[in-house]
Amino acid sequence: MKETLNLTLKVWRQKNANTPGKFETYEANNIDVHASFLEMLDVVNEGLALKGIDPISFDHDCREGICGACGAVVNGKPHGHLPKTTLCQLHMRHFKDNDVIVIEPFRSQGLPIVKDLMVDRSAFDRVIAAGGYVSVRTGSAQDANNLPVSKEDSDLAMDAAQCIGCAACVAACPNAAAMLFVSAKFSHLSLLPQGQVESKRRVKRMVYQMDKEGFGNCSNEYLCEAACPKGISVSNIARMNRAYFKSGV
């Protein structure tokens, strides 16, 4: 196998939120196949900086696939084509020599573009602030263990809690809906006894905030689940739909 790749990148460049963006084409030559996608962008940026071109801005932090900071739409898919993988864990060996790669930011009214591939995800913080918390005193570890939680509920809650808030679900949804994120945050609290007290209030507030942020409506297409790097299930959306119906009617 060839150890380096030559690629053509079509990258969305946008100076700031108020300036219209456009695609620019860059050559990415001699890219190590073991580099991550973000490392490939680092190499390209070094080259751009040497030429006096503004480097491509992109979100990143841990580069271990656990923080949820990175993410861009690569060839039409958030975090690229590999299932259950964040962009930082997508390696260049999954691409072929001379590939043309289209890199776009996550696109949603609720996630405005800050610059190039960077988006402002503070709408997610506001959804959490609206109801994604437990206000009852849950006690220290010993007290918590005195509360019986079934294995099934505990597993489901932990599965939902895996959400890293990367917003790939919003990016993948044809309607830019944030239902998978919001329902995962709702579910992981509401499945546990500590979170059940406020469940009704939580679902109302979180859905209200989600709508206010300008995300779209769910049309049960399940692309969110397909794009989720943590494999969060759409059964969380069903759980939230059920809770919302009970709380509202």
């Binding site: 079509k10 695609f23 739409v73 690569v74 060839n75 039409g76 898919k77 289209v102 890199i103 776009e104 696109r107 949603s108 009214q109 609720g110 993948a172 044809p174 309607n175 830019a176 809906a177 239902m179 109302k204 859905v207 209200y208 989600m210 709508d211 300008g214 995300f215 779209g216 409506n217 769910c218 049309s219 049960n220 297409e221 399940y222 692309l223 689940e225 397909a226 794009a227 759409v234 059964s235 959306i237 069903a238 759980r239 939230m240 739909n241 059920r242 809770a243 919302y244 119906f245 709380s247 509202g248 009617v249």
Partner: protein
Amino acid sequence: MRSWLMSSIGKKQVVAVSGLLLILFLIAHLAGNLLIYRGPEAINIYSHTLHSFGLFIRLAEFGLAAIFLIHIAFTAMVVIDNKKARPIGYIGGQPYKERSLATRLMPYTGTILLIYVITHLFDFTLANSNGPGAFVNGQNLGLYGLIVNAFANPYEVLWYVVAMAAVGFHLVHAIQSVCQTFGLNHPVVTPVLKKISFVLGVLISVSFASIPIYVWLFISTAH
């Protein structure tokens, strides 16, 4: 209640309930229509019996129209919200295989059905079943005559078959979608529901579409 109705989930649930009621109407309508296979008398008696209910059937028609309009109005609201939610689309890539054909076609099948329902009302419901359109070989055959004359035209048959294919695609997505929207998602039950959704959608669609084809092939041409 008002905040529920205007929320993203509430609007979807209104679309789901109204859609479910429309599916129940479709099943009842299909049961009536299949009487065509029992000949002119059966379908005409069925039609007369329905009309003999007078005010009751008018109320039912009004209710059905209201449900239909609610389904469309709330869908329109959802679609407008969704367009606003992503002002600029993506240019790269292939579609997800997780997105089924029926799901992708929902806006198109929905639009075809809206146009179809209007033409269908003019073809039969609003047409005079004692007028010239009901006469076959100089004989007044009532609703049966209207059907035979309408489906003597192959383009009319084709349009009905296309519309019924749209019904099929619409239902294949819709039935399982109603369950998800109301919170029914279970590792064992949901895959079964998806299969039921598919079978029911195809069955209703094929049964409806069989009528114009049967009338065109075996009745209209015989006259």
